[in-house]
């Protein structure tokens, strides 16, 4: 406690700073929060020295380097409440897609094999910086996480509710239902998918359920709370809020959904095989928290 205020630290791991922006996006509500909460450490927003202890530590970003791992473990001892903010910290997020390949392949692709790179000697940068970990992890796998707020970026309303709960001592809970529940295109009637279409190539009807049109929309297997913001903006749900309560693997359940809604007269198995990059589109934000946590790598028989 600092002058009777709650002390707050916002610690970046491997992040794009979008989650910090969500906090700043609270706008005039920040003034109200400032009466109760003191942000003492937030390297992305302001310059200050790390304190020895805080009440709430908010983590943004995925655990991509060994430095991130160390940070999480150190701050767990320094804080009373540890919060994972954003898809990366709670589910793995976009950096988690690195689990589909290995660090060696990744570095080789970027510094040697990339078509825009001329590197005949095949040298890779050798700097004294934190090393990439072989498998991107989520915070829950390393330490006890008290609150998780998913979303890429997390919805403003949820962040606001969380701060209010911290100030008033109330309970903070994520919504349990799926995005379809909040979706303006959901008519509540039985959905039938009669064609498989590809986003960006086929024309879109903005007033008809995207799944019914044949686009891959992850609404049915994604947690609500975002008020279907992507669909309202004319874009299919990509699943950034993670699976709702009761679902562990977003991709498996989306496959189940596709199996349930395809029209058996008009769609053959071959049509489904045309869907490109299945693991990338169904696990876009949740690969490190999925059943297998990434690509299955065989141990060499030694």
């Amino acid at each position: 406690m600092n002058n009777g205020k709650i002390t707050l630290a916002i610690i970046p791991l491997s992040t794009c700073a979008g989650c910090e922006n969500t906090i700043l996006d609270l706008e005039e509500k920040l003034f109200f929060l400032a009466d109760f909460i003191d942000i003492v450490y937030a390297p992305i927003i302001m310059d200050s020295k790390p304190p020895s202890s805080v009440d709430i530590a908010i983590f943004t970003g995925a655990i991509r380097t060994d430095e991130d791992e160390r940070k999480v473990k150190v701050w767990r001892k320094k804080c009373k409440i540890l919060v994972a903010l954003g898809s990366c910290a709670t589910l793995g997020g976009i950096p988690g897609l690195a689990n589909l390949t290995t660090v060696e392949d990744l570095l080789k692709q970027i510094y040697v094999n990339h078509p825009n790179v001329q590197n005949p000697r095949g040298t890779e940068p050798n700097l004294d910086i934190p090393k990439l970990v072989n498998q991107v992890k989520i915070l829950k796998d390393l330490v006890k996480v008290d609150y998780s707020i998913p979303g890429c970026p997390p919805p403003k309303k949820l962040v606001e509710k969380f701060f209010q709960a911290m100030i008033n001592g109330g309970e903070f809970k994520l919504p349990d239902k799926s995005v379809c529940d909040e979706c303006p295109l959901n008519t509540g009637k039985k959905k039938v998918m009669e064609k498989i279409k590809r986003w960006g190539i086929d024309p879109v009807d903005p007033n008809k359920c995207l799944l019914e049109q044949g686009f891959l929309c992850l609404g049915p297997v994604t947690r609500s709370g975002c008020e279907a913001r992507c669909i309202r903006a004319g874009y299919p749900c990509r699943g950034c809020m993670g699976p709702p309560k009761g679902i562990t693997d977003q991709a498996a359940d989306m496959i189940s959904v596709i199996g349930s809604i395809v029209s058996l007269d008009k769609i053959e198995v071959e049509d489904l095989m045309k869907i490109k990059d299945l693991s990338g589109s169904l696990y876009r934000f949740t690969l490190p928290s999925s059943t297998f946590k990434g690509k299955i790598r065989r141990k060499l028989n030694g």
């Binding site: 589909l100 679902i247 562990t248 693997d249 991709a251 498996a252 359940d253 496959i255 189940s256 596709i258 199996g259 349930s260 395809v262 058996l264 769609i267 198995v269 489904l272 095989m273 869907i275 990059d277 299945l278 693991s279 169904l282 059943t291 297998f292 946590k293 990434g294 690509k295 299955i296 790598r297 065989r298 141990k299």
Partner: protein, 148 residues
């Protein structure tokens, strides 16, 4: 062919989970038993009401918990007790196989086949074939991966 029979001693003994539908697959397994047909005892049978009831997450969970292969036996196309459950299962399994391939697990570890209630012999053959295939593929690499 018991798991610990002299023939099998020292060889890789796969664990195979079988999801059999109540109306055809399970009835076929029942018939195979009544006919005293021999098939590998490595198959652990789970009876479900329809092959369309099997959620892909059940299959992923089976692999995660250490199953070396997952076999699904439903009614022949057109014969589903619930009109089209087996067609839906076929769609889901095809997609799931593609996903498994992408994340690095051999899609051959997952098989969907059909056997009617009268085809005990066919069922035994399916299990024998699948058993040999899994034995050639070797142990499932997922379990150790997930335990670390």
């Amino acid at each position: 062919m018991r798991e610990d029979s002299p023939r099998n001693r020292g060889m890789f003994n796969p664990k195979i989970i079988g999801f059999l539908c109540n109306w055809c697959g399970y009835a076929a397994a029942d018939l195979a038993g009544n006919l005293r047909l021999n098939y590998p005892s490595n198959l652990r049978i789970i009876k479900v009401m329809c092959s369309g009831r099997i959620d892909p997450s059940h299959i992923l969970e089976a692999f995660k918990k250490g199953a070396d292969g997952v076999l699904i036996v439903g009614c022949h196309p057109g014969d589903c007790h619930y009109i089209n459950g087996n067609y839906r299962a076929k769609m889901r399994i095809a997609l799931l196989k593609k996903l498994l391939q992408e994340i690095g697990l051999e899609p051959e570890r997952l098989r969907i086949d059909w056997a009617s209630a009268g085809e005990g012999e066919r069922f035994a053959n399916i299990v024998r074939e699948f058993f040999e295939e899994i034995r050639n593929l070797g142990p499932n690499p997922v379990k150790e991966e997930c335990d670390e």
